[in-house]
């Protein structure tokens, strides 16, 4: 054979091999589905997840499930969405549901979700997050939460505070932060400030003080308000007068969880359901953990709430979408509505040492939620008594949704506010808030 033919044959073979390597999953007659699994899980949590996959595949032999590590963050989600690398089934926050549906960026599975027996039982406010304008359910609400104050019981004890009587007012939070910082040298109170989480938590504080960050119709930014000023002043007092906020003012969700789980933070505000990731990803010692409800102050005060939707990739075919809804029903929903499924899920988690019974808010109604907790009562292994200051109050607190218009952009504007307040002692807060309101309004106008 001539050298040129050898080269041509070799090149062709290499290209063919490359093509084969890039080919789709095996054609074995089954539907192949990639589903989201939290990244960085402890081995026990991975085992529990795989056990659930095995149970599902036993019940659905024509579906092959593959776990794909996935965690929603604004930046990685956008890149994965554009690049087509999302799992077939993934989760998104309530705030993004309507926007993604309007833009056609998730699959329309409403005809499939219509067949779910509990589709009409969702709390209407919760279902709205995953529905289109006609009420079709494109994304299934799987969990809801209200913000809470997480605290380290050990640091409370070290500071001479009673961990069973956590702060009930903002002044008490400030005093406790100061006491912890003085007695232990650790951060008394930490605030997320980065990657739009600064806006998320600042909005939480404003809600708890009776304010809002946008008008009821979602058309006007309301940043420069007395409630916002009060929230920023409280942070500045803790930062500059008390020195109780530590040295890190660039925390985001991941890093603040990391430092809290390692015992370096006395208190911080985050979703009431964060115990599970703290335990499964950051190796939190449950004995350290305490959770209480946020203090509400003012006539229109309330707790910022949110939740998680399970959605399906727009790149999936009809058979994959049907399998995806089967998986959503099995993995996320049956444990909320079916006793056998709830027990099977709790048993798998408990057997692998994973948390069962961490507090959430109901996606249906409170009675259904409490019923599901009763089913798994014998498997509950989280320190629920350390969370009673939260669970006893949260159902009585008004739950408020996140701002609807340009949510992430407005949060980004507020990141700058809280970072400036915490890193610049001489900052002109009046000018800062006025500028933030202008910037937020521009972002909202652009999104309208």
């Amino acid at each position: 054979m001539k050298p040129s033919r050898i080269i041509a044959a070799t090149t062709a073979a290499a290209l063919a091999a490359l093509g084969a390597a890039c080919s789709d999953e095996p054609d074995d007659g089954r539907v192949h589905l990639a589903v989201a699994m939290d990244p960085g899980l402890e081995q026990g949590a991975i085992d529990a997840f795989n056990e659930r996959i095995a149970q599902f595949e036993d019940a659905n032999p024509d579906i092959d499930i593959e776990a794909q590590e996935y965690n929603w963050t604004a930046s990685t989600f956008t890149a994965q969405l554009a690049g087509g690398t999302l799992p077939d089934v993934f989760t998104i926050p309530f705030t993004d549901g309507r926007g993604l549906i309007e833009r056609g960026q998730i699959a329309d599975i409403s005809s499939l979700t219509d067949e779910l027996p509990y589709v009409d039982d969702f709390n209407p406010n919760v279902a709205a997050a995953g529905s289109d304008a006609e009420g079709g359910l494109w994304a299934v609400p799987t969990a809801a939460y209200g913000q809470g104050l997480h605290y380290n019981r050990t640091l409370f004890e070290d500071a001479g505070l009673d961990p069973d009587a956590p702060p009930q007012t903002w002044d008490e939070i400030r005093e406790a932060a100061d006491a912890i910082s003085e007695a232990t040298g650790e951060t008394g109170y930490a605030q997320m400030t980065n990657g739009n989480t600064g806006g998320w938590i600042l909005t939480t504080m404003v809600y708890a003080l009776g304010g809002r960050t946008e008008s009821a119709d979602g058309g006007t930014a309301t940043i420069d308000t007395p409630q916002m000023r009060e929230a920023v002043d409280l942070l500045r007092d803790m930062r500059w007068e008390d020195g109780s906020m530590g040295d890190d003012f660039l925390y985001d969700w991941g890093t603040v969880n990391q430092d809290f789980a390692s015992g370096r933070i006395g208190m911080y505000i985050s979703g009431g359901d964060v115990f599970t990731p703290l335990f499964t990803q950051n190796d939190l010692d449950p004995a350290d953990y305490g959770l209480t409800a946020l203090p509400l102050d003012g006539a229109d005060s309330g707790v910022l709430g949110g939740g998680t939707l399970a959605a399906v990739s727009p790149n999936t075919e009809a058979d994959e979408q049907a399998a995806a809804v089967e998986w959503i029903d099995f993995y996320y929903m049956e444990k909320l509505t079916d006793q056998d499924a709830a027990v099977a899920d709790a048993e798998a988690l408990a057997d692998s040492g994973q948390p069962v019974g961490a507090p959430q808010l109901p996606v249906f109604d409170r009675a259904t939620y409490e019923q599901s907790l009763e089913w798994v009562d014998e498997y509950v292994n989280v320190p629920v008594e350390q969370m009673t200051p939260y669970t006893e109050l949260i159902f009585d607190q008004p739950l408020l949704p996140e701002p609807a218009t340009a949510t992430q952009e407005v949060y980004a504007v507020l990141d700058t506010v809280v970072q400036t307040a915490l890193t610049d002692e001489g900052a002109d807060i009046d000018a800062l808030l006025a500028q933030a309101e202008t910037d937020a309004q521009a972002a909202m106008d652009a999104a309208a």
């Binding site: 050298p3 040129s4 080269i7 400030t193 980065n194 530590g246 660039l250 992430q408 980004a412 400036t420």
Partner: protein, 323 residues
């Protein structure tokens, strides 16, 4: 003196004149194919495919996208110059430009001379020069993300932080480092200089070996000291390399992304937002679908500015580099 070269024309570049080139140019595709020209094309093909797939097509696509509104999921629509207008109207753009210029200036002040001085000192070392070279190059082989995490630990703003402990020994600090809008950018430059200096040092060391030692000997006979030798011999001899590393440094620092992204994510209060970080934010921080049109428009503007700057730079320094 004359010599006789018996090799056929074309084997050496010196013997290949315009007439040979013209003769080659007259060859038709058939004769080119019969002559085995397609062999080189076959060898070139994988490289062309790789360049096309990973460079040229994405660049062409980016230019196209800068005139579109697209979320890369649904169909794009052409919007003319809207993306460019929106980017230019963004107040954060000028903050990013100012920050990027500040980073570039600091990197020039500290990052440009440090490798040169280090290379000059190392070239004077008689023993264990290889060891010093390896030590200087070591930061370059540390994965950038690992290096940033390491430096984040060093930059702990508490009094027990590594750098603050060192400063404490001489009665300074503690400094807030990354947590202070005034210090954050210099802190990023410090790490970036540490991370990148090794590669430039190796280039300078290689260039220094090309300096004719007889020039130094002649200068010594004339009574020149170390500074005179550096100023009158070393630097002029290195000027070609210095010109190239200068423009590479400017281009590199204008595209700084890793440090502000990993250290501070642009904070505190946008004090470390750079142009590339802003491009990233346009594209990826809105979870409802990025502003890829705005991101590619700003990328295109940055590329044009850098290309113009490079062209102007080489034009202005042409006489110096060829003298």
């Amino acid at each position: 003196m004359t010599t006789t070269d018996t090799r056929p024309a074309g084997v050496t570049g010196a013997r290949t004149g315009p007439r040979d080139a013209a003769r080659r140019g007259r060859r038709g595709p058939a004769s080119w194919f019969r002559g085995g020209g397609h062999h080189s094309l076959v060898f070139l093909l994988p490289l062309l495919i790789v360049f096309a797939v990973f460079s040229w097509i994405p660049i062409g696509r980016a230019v196209l996208m800068s005139f579109q509104a697209t979320n890369l999921v649904t169909d794009p629509t052409f919007v003319g110059l809207d993306n460019f207008q929106a980017v230019l109207a963004d107040p954060l753009l000028w903050t990013a430009v100012k920050n990027t210029c500040y980073f570039a200036l600091l990197a020039l002040l500290f990052g440009y001379p440090v490798p040169l001085v280090a290379a000059l000192l190392m070239s004077e070392v008689r023993r264990a020069r290889g060891l010093f070279s390896a030590l200087a190059y070591l930061p370059v082989v540390v994965p950038p993300v690992v290096a940033v995490l390491l430096w984040k630990f060093f930059y702990d703003a508490g009094p027990d932080g590594v750098f603050n402990t060192l400063l404490g020994h001489i009665g300074l600090g503690p400094l807030a480092w990354l947590q202070d809008a005034d210090i954050a950018m210099p802190a990023l430059v410090l790490e970036a200089t540490w991370a990148a200096a090794g590669g430039t040092i190796i280039i300078y060391l290689a260039a220094l070996t090309g300096v004719d030692s007889s020039l130094y000997e002649a200068a010594e006979i004339d009574g020149a000291g170390i500074w005179h030798k550096i100023w009158h011999i070393t630097l002029p001899q290195l000027r070609g390399v210095l010109l190239i590393t200068f423009i590479l440094q400017i281009i590199g620092t204008a595209q700084v992304f890793l440090e502000p992204f990993l250290f501070t994510d642009g904070g505190p209060a946008n004090s470390t937002v750079t142009v590339l970080l802003l491009i990233y934010r346009y594209a990826f921080t809105n979870s409802l679908g990025g502003d890829y049109g705005g991101a590619t428009a700003l990328s295109l503007m940055l590329a044009v500015v850098l290309a113009l700057f490079s062209a102007l730079y080489f034009r202005l320094t042409r006489s110096w580099s060829s003298s």
